[in-house]
Symmetry: C2
Subunit: 248 residues, 2 copies
DNA sequence: GCCGATTTGTCCGTATGTATC
DNA sequence: CGATACATACGGACAAATCGG
């Protein structure tokens, strides 16, 4: 239920690309044609298309048109090893994972925690350790730090279900953005213990560290997400000249 | 030299955020005020701001304003270990790296290469192996595959300088976007040989695999970029509700 | 090479909706 | 409630790139 017109057009076009209505390397209808068929203004069509560009679904070419560059997963899996397809298929089949809460404590940020998380010293925090399973296999070990007064009333039960659902549906807080850093780190004893990796196999983990902000502009979460390297995969689409500004 | 108005406004605002004119958590002037000071329309200001949102520099809040959430590197380096700062500083000080070409051959894609790169079997390709140094330390080992007829006249000399400069400045080809996958892979003999890593230290590499498209909609490059894990860092900003479309 | 038709890119002004204060 | 601020949408104008005749 998209409230905005441009978003419903965006979704409609996205579906048509995914189901093959527009094939790889084929041109989409011109903006003018889309304006006609959707009964909206040109700006609205252009916003929808800009979203597809950001997703790496299409590319726009001045004077030519909009070309589809989306390839279905089967055709895009060249780089994927034998194990990855297992996880991919699990996700596709909606085999949602289980979450096990290993630790749930309330702490006050000391200097060490502060410098690790970016929260000011003295901040009241929840510190949560969670293990995420997919199809019974422990894949991700999360270390969460939540600002207590931004996420009041957190419990281990909520942590086992979904903290984000709680924040958005119960607290009606809006999560805005998340600055992430991906790195590779040496495996720790905790990793070994819970992920049951043999050291001789992999001696490191894929780590995503993220700082997340809510709509009050408050950095309310720091999370370090440690992934089993053999199951880890992070997708990204980089634009040389981003659609709306941002010429990085 | 931005040709477009929104881009010059975007850059100006970005600089003001980076130099501290607008501080962390401070509100930027309202759109109306920016319209006045830049002498442009509201749409133009909004495009500039949308770029900053995508960069994770600001967040917009309906009814409230636009808040700066940018923190200078010194304050954002919590997650950064002792070694990383070394590389960061090297990059900041423009200590550009050297590139050594290990291999430069012309090949025809067989079934194996095809399934690895995504190029059609029979494609004429350049295969290039390059080692990138920073401050004398070999950090990245690249395996490049370029479509020969999209990047004609490539030489080892160009590969040692900059292939992208050649493509853009000499061939006048426009690079549009790049679909990337980040993963962690076991270290290979080649990695060990050139990056001089001790196996007992790290037995894996951070790998960025990318498919790059030009403005003809042709996937003209596949690159596997293998990074020394202890120096690898990948930054990203994820939006919960992307600025212009893209509700992924 | 030129010209005109088509297509995307930039920019403007305006109107209305919605959230905040 | 009104004032302010951002969000969505429309319509129009002109520029720039492409392509065909």
């Amino acid at each position: 239920m998209p409230k905005s017109k441009f978003e419903s057009i965006y979704r409609d076009l996205k579906l048509k690309i995914e189901d093959g209505t527009y094939e790889y390397r084929q041109l989409l209808p011109s903006e003018h044609a889309l304006v006609q068929s959707y009964g909206c203004s040109r700006n609205t069509v252009r916003r929808a298309v800009a979203g597809l560009v950001a997703d790496g679904y299409v590319q726009t070419m001045q004077g030519k048109g909009v070309r589809c560059i989306f390839r279905p997963v089967e055709q895009t899996s060249y780089t994927i090893g034998s194990i990855e397809s297992f996880k991919e298929s699990s996700v596709r089949n909606h085999q949602k994972g289980r979450t096990r809460v290993l630790q749930f404590v309330e702490i006050t940020a000391d200097q060490k925690v502060s410098s690790r998380t970016g929260f000011a010293p003295g901040s009241e925090l929840y510190y949560i350790q969670r293990l995420h399973y997919l199809d019974g296999i422990p894949l991700i070990l999360n270390h969460n730090y939540f600002l207590k007064n931004a996420v009041p009333g957190l419990t281990p039960e909520i942590a086992e279900a979904s903290i984000y659902e709680y924040i958005e549906d119960t607290l009606h807080q809006t999560i805005v953005n998340s600055k992430r850093v991906i790195s590779v780190e040496k495996i720790t004893e905790i990793d070994e213990k819970y992920l049951r990796l043999n050291v001789q196999d992999y001696n490191c983990m894929a780590v995503i560290s993220s700082h997340t902000y809510n709509s009050d502009g408050v950095m309310f979460e720091f999370t370090q997400s440690r992934h089993r390297p053999d199951y880890f995969r992070f997708y990204d689409n980089a634009l040389r000249r981003p659609a709306y500004g941002s010429t990085g």
